[in-house]
C-alpha cells in the first residue's frame, strides 16, 4: 500500500512539474510574441522617425529619388485605398447579406460559400495576374488607377463578405423576430434592424481588409503601379487612366534597386506605411468599442 502511494505521489509530482513546464512555455511563447511585436515596431520607429518630416510626407522625390519626400506615394496609396473602399464595401456587404440570408439553403449557396472562403485565401499575386489579364489587357484600362481599384476591390471583397456574414449571424433572433412581428418586411428587418446591429462588426472587417490592401504591393504591382513619380499629382478624369505611385511598390522597388533610394528614406517609408495601417486599425478598434455600447441592453 505504502509503495503504491509513494509511486502515485511521485507520479503526481512529475505531472505537476511537467504541467508547470508546459504552461510556463505557453506563457513564454505568448510573452515572446508580444515582445516581438514591440521590437518590430520599435526598430522601425527608431530607424524611421528621424526621416519623418513635413517635407518627407508631402514633397515629391527630387534629384533621382535621393532627396525630397514620398508625398505622391502616400497620396497614391490613400487614393487606391479610398477607391477600393467605395467599390468593395457595397459589394462585400451585400455579398455577406446574400450568404447570411440564403445561407445553407441550396447547393448553389453552399458552393458560393465555399468559393468565397477559397477566394479569401487566394494569394494576392493571383489577383494581380487576374487584374492584369482582365482589367489591364482585356478591358483596355491599361496600367492605371482604375485597374488598380478594380483589382484591389476583388482582393478585399471576400474578406468583407465573410466578416459581414459572421457579424449578421451574431444578430439575436429576438431582434429579427421582433421586427417581423411589428410588420416589417423581410428586407426592412434586414436594413433597419440586422444591419445596424451588425454594423460595428462589418465596419471592422471593412477597415481591416482595407488595411491589408493598403500595405499589399502585389495586387497593384502589374495593374496600377509606377515607381518614379515626380509630377505633382493633379486630380481629374485623366488620373483614372494613369498609373499611380504607392508606398508598398516604392519600398519594393527601392529595395530592388539598391543605392537609388537612401536607406533612411526606406525606413521612413516603412514607418509611414505602418503608421497608415495602424491608424486604420486604431480606427477599427475605436469603432468597435464605440458602437457596441449603443446596443447593450
Amino acid at each position: 500500500m505504502a509503495a503504491w502511494e509513494a509511486l502515485a505521489a511521485r507520479r503526481d509530482t512529475l505531472r505537476a512539474r511537467k504541467n508547470a513546464l508546459l504552461t510556463g512555455a505557453f506563457g513564454a511563447v505568448g510573452l515572446a510574441t508580444v515582445l516581438l511585436v514591440f521590437a518590430l515596431v520599435a526598430i522601425i520607429a527608431v530607424n524611421g522617425a528621424p526621416t519623418i518630416s513635413w517635407e518627407f510626407l508631402t514633397q515629391p522625390p527630387r534629384e533621382g529619388m535621393s532627396a525630397g519626400g514620398v508625398g505622391p506615394m502616400i497620396f497614391g496609396s490613400i487614393l487606391l485605398m479610398l477607391g477600393a473602399f467605395v467599390m468593395a464595401t457595397p459589394l462585400g456587404v451585400f455579398g455577406g447579406v446574400c450568404l447570411a440570408e440564403y445561407g445553407e439553403r441550396s447547393r448553389l449557396m453552399r458552393l458560393m460559400h465555399a468559393s468565397v472562403a477559397a477566394l479569401a485565401g487566394t494569394p494576392p499575386i493571383v489577383y494581380g495576374l487576374f487584374g492584369l489579364a482582365i482589367f489591364v489587357l482585356k478591358f483596355h484600362f491599361g496600367v492605371s488607377l482604375l485597374a488598380g481599384w478594380c483589382t484591389l476591390t476583388l482582393f478585399c471583397v471576400p474578406a468583407i463578405v465573410l466578416t459581414t456574414e459572421a457579424a449578421l449571424k451574431t444578430v439575436p433572433a429576438a431582434l429579427i423576430d421582433g421586427g417581423l412581428a411589428l410588420g416589417l418586411s423581410r428586407w426592412q428587418t434586414l436594413w433597419r434592424i440586422a444591419l445596424p446591429y451588425a454594423l460595428p462588426g462589418i465596419l471592422t472587417g471593412v477597415i481591416l481588409s482595407l488595411g491589408r490592401a493598403v500595405g499589399e504591393a502585389t495586387p497593384v504591382l502589374f495593374t496600377a503601379s509606377v515607381y518614379y513619380s515626380t509630377a505633382e499629382t493633379k486630380l481629374g478624369w485623366e488620373t483614372l487612366r494613369q498609373p499611380v505611385a504607392n508606398l508598398p511598390y516604392y519600398l519594393a522597388e527601392g529595395y530592388r534597386q539598391p543605392g537609388v533610394v537612401p536607406e533612411r528614406f526606406i525606413w521612413g517609408a516603412c514607418l509611414t506605411l505602418i503608421m497608415l495601417t495602424l491608424l486604420l486599425n486604431a480606427g477599427a478598434i475605436l469603432i468597435r468599442s464605440r458602437m457596441r455600447r449603443r446596443y447593450l441592453w
Partner: protein
C-alpha cells in the same frame, strides 16, 4: 406601400447581384488564368539565325553579321504587310516597299564603297532583330547584289546564333529558295537548318539594276514549323528542373521554384504552428480576460505590418546574421535565401495561426474543460487529452489556411529569397545546409519579378500565367479543404 415594395426589391436585387458577382469572380479568375496560360502552349519563341550572302572569298565571321553598313538579305514577316503570297510569287518587292516594311528594322542603306563590298558588306542577318517565329510562320529573305559588285559567284552562308541547340529548338527550320531573278538558272535549294545548322552554298551571281530600283535577286524563305506542339510536351517541360527564361530558346521547368515554395512553406508553417498553438493555448486557457483584451490588438498590429516591411526587415536583420554565421564556411555573398525567407514567413503567419487556433480552442464547450478538470487532470494534460482532440478540425483548418497564405505570399520571398532558381539538394549535410542558406526563388516572386519585363502574349508570359494557375489551383484546393474542416468543426461542436 409601393415604396416599401420598391425598397424591398432593390435590396433583394443588390443582394442577388453581389452574390452572382462573387460566384462569377472565382469562375472568371480561373478562366482568365487558364486562358492566358494558353500562350505557354503556343511556343512563340523567337529564334536567331544568321543568313548571309557574301562574296565567295570572304570567311563568314560572326562580327560581320553585326555590321550594319550594307544589306543583302532583307526579311519580312508573312502577313504583316501588304505583300501576300500571290505577290511574292510574281515579283520581288521594290526597295522603297522593303524600306517601308515595319519588320525591316535593321535595313540600312547600301554602300557605294567597292572595297567594303568586296569584303564584308554583302550580308543581312536576322540576328540583329530576332524574328518571332510563330506556328507555321515563314520569313522571307530577299537577296540581291549591289550594282558595283563585280564577281560572278556568291556564297549563301548561314549560321545559328550561339545558344542554338537543335535538340531544344522547338521548330523545324527550313531555308529554301523560292524564286530567282530572270535569267539565272539554278537548282531548287532546300536546307534543313536543324540537321545542318551551319554551312555555305555557292550561287551564281545576280545583279541589281540600280541603287533606286535595286531588285533583282533571290527570294529565300525561312520556314519555322513547330515540331512539338502537343500541350503534353509543354507540360512535360514545365515539370522539368530548369528555369531559364532567356529570349532565345528559353527553358521553363518550374520544379526548382515549386520545391522552393514548398520548402519555405513547410519550414515556416512547421515553425509557426507549435509556437502559435502554444500562444493560443496560453490565451484561451491561462490568460485572464484583461490580458486577452490587451493581447488581441497587439496581435492585430503584428498582422497589420505590411509584408514589404517584413521583407525589408529580414534583409536588414536576419540576412546579415545568417551571413555572419554561415558566410565563411559556404562563401555566401548575402544571407538571403530559403532560411531567411522561412523565418520571416514565420513572423508573418504567426498572428494568423494564433488567432485562428485561439478561436478553435475557445469554441470547445466549457463542459469538456470542466469535466477534465473534475477528473483531476493538470492543464497540460487537459490540453493534450481533451482540448486539442476536441478542437482538432478547427486547428487543422487554421493550419491549412496558414499553408495557403504562406505559399502565396509574394513580397517577403521577392525581397528575401535572393532570386536564383536552385534545386534543393539534401544529398549531404553540407549540401543541405547550402540549400537552406543559399539564394533560391519561389513561384510567387518569379511571377512578380518577371512579369515586369515580359512581352505580352509571348511564351514566357504564358508560362508565368501557368505558374499563377498552378499556385491558384494549389491554394484553392488547400483553402477548400480548410473550409471543409472549419465546417466540420462547427458541426461537431
Amino acid at each position: 406601400m409601393w415604396r416599401i415594395r420598391l425598397f424591398d426589391n432593390l435590396v433583394q436585387a443588390a443582394t442577388w447581384l453581389a452574390g452572382a458577382l462573387l460566384l462569377l469572380t472565382i469562375v472568371a479568375v480561373f478562366y482568365y488564368l487558364f486562358a492566358e496560360s494558353q500562350y505557354a502552349f503556343q511556343r512563340k519563341f523567337p529564334f536567331g539565325f544568321r543568313v548571309a550572302l557574301q562574296p565567295p572569298d570572304s570567311e563568314y565571321r560572326e562580327e560581320i553579321s553585326m555590321d550594319p553598313t550594307a544589306s543583302l538579305l532583307a526579311t519580312h514577316q508573312e502577313g504583316t504587310d501588304e505583300l501576300d503570297d500571290a505577290e511574292d510569287a510574281t515579283r520581288l518587292p521594290a526597295h522603297d516597299e522593303l524600306m517601308q516594311m515595319q519588320s525591316l528594322v535593321t535595313a540600312t542603306a547600301q554602300t557605294d564603297d567597292p572595297a567594303q563590298l568586296r569584303t564584308d558588306a554583302l550580308f543581312r542577318d536576322c540576328m540583329r532583330a530576332p524574328k518571332r517565329a510563330e506556328q507555321g510562320e515563314r520569313l522571307l529573305l530577299l537577296a540581291f547584289a549591289l550594282p558595283n559588285y563585280t564577281g560572278d559567284r556568291m556564297v549563301l552562308a548561314w549560321e545559328p546564333d550561339v545558344s542554338f541547340d537543335p535538340a531544344y529548338c522547338p521548330y523545324e527550320l527550313r531555308l529554301r529558295l523560292l524564286r530567282a531573278s530572270k535569267g539565272v538558272s539554278i537548282d531548287p535549294i532546300e536546307i534543313d537548318l536543324r540537321r545542318q545548322p551551319k554551312g555555305r552554298l555557292e550561287l551564281p551571281i545576280w545583279k541589281a539594276r540600280s541603287q533606286d530600283e535595286w531588285l533583282q535577286g533571290y527570294l529565300f524563305e525561312l520556314e519555322a514549323r513547330p515540331t512539338t506542339t502537343t500541350p503534353w510536351a509543354t507540360l512535360q517541360q514545365f515539370l522539368k528542373a530548369d528555369w531559364a527564361p532567356t529570349i532565345l530558346y528559353p527553358r521553363f521547368g518550374m520544379l526548382p521554384l515549386m520545391l522552393a515554395t514548398l520548402l519555405i512553406t513547410l519550414l515556416a508553417v512547421g515553425l509557426a504552428t507549435p509556437l502559435g498553438l502554444a500562444a493560443a493555448v496560453y490565451l484561451s486557457e491561462q490568460a485572464s480576460p484583461r490580458i486577452r483584451e490587451w493581447f488581441k490588438p497587439i496581435l492585430e498590429v503584428l498582422a497589420a505590418i505590411p509584408t514589404v516591411v517584413l521583407g525589408y526587415f529580414g534583409v536588414m536583420l536576419i540576412a546579415p546574421a545568417l551571413q555572419q554565421v554561415f558566410g565563411e564556411a559556404l562563401q555566401l555573398s548575402s544571407g538571403r535565401g530559403l532560411l531567411a525567407t522561412a523565418l520571416m514567413m514565420t513572423v508573418f503567419i504567426l498572428p494568423t495561426i494564433i488567432s485562428l487556433s485561439e478561436d478553435a480552442l475557445r469554441a470547445v464547450p466549457n463542459s469538456l474543460r470542466e469535466g477534465a478538470e473534475a477528473l483531476g487532470l493538470t492543464l497540460a494534460e487537459r490540453v493534450r487529452l481533451v482540448l486539442l482532440p476536441a478542437a482538432k478540425s478547427g486547428l487543422i483548418a487554421a493550419g491549412l489556411l496558414a499553408i495557403a497564405r504562406v505559399m502565396g505570399e509574394t513580397m517577403i520571398v521577392w525581397i528575401l529569397s535572393g532570386g536564383t532558381p536552385t534545386m534543393p539538394d539534401f544529398g549531404s549535410p553540407t549540401a543541405a545546409l547550402g540549400t537552406l542558406v543559399k539564394p533560391t526563388r519561389g513561384i510567387p516572386d518569379t511571377i512578380a519579378i518577371e512579369m515586369g519585363n515580359v512581352e505580352f502574349e509571348s511564351s514566357h508570359y504564358g508560362h508565368l500565367f501557368l505558374l499563377g494557375l498552378t499556385l491558384f489551383v494549389l491554394t484553392l484546393g488547400i483553402n477548400l479543404l480548410g473550409f471543409a474542416y472549419r465546417k466540420r468543426a462547427q458541426v461537431s461542436l
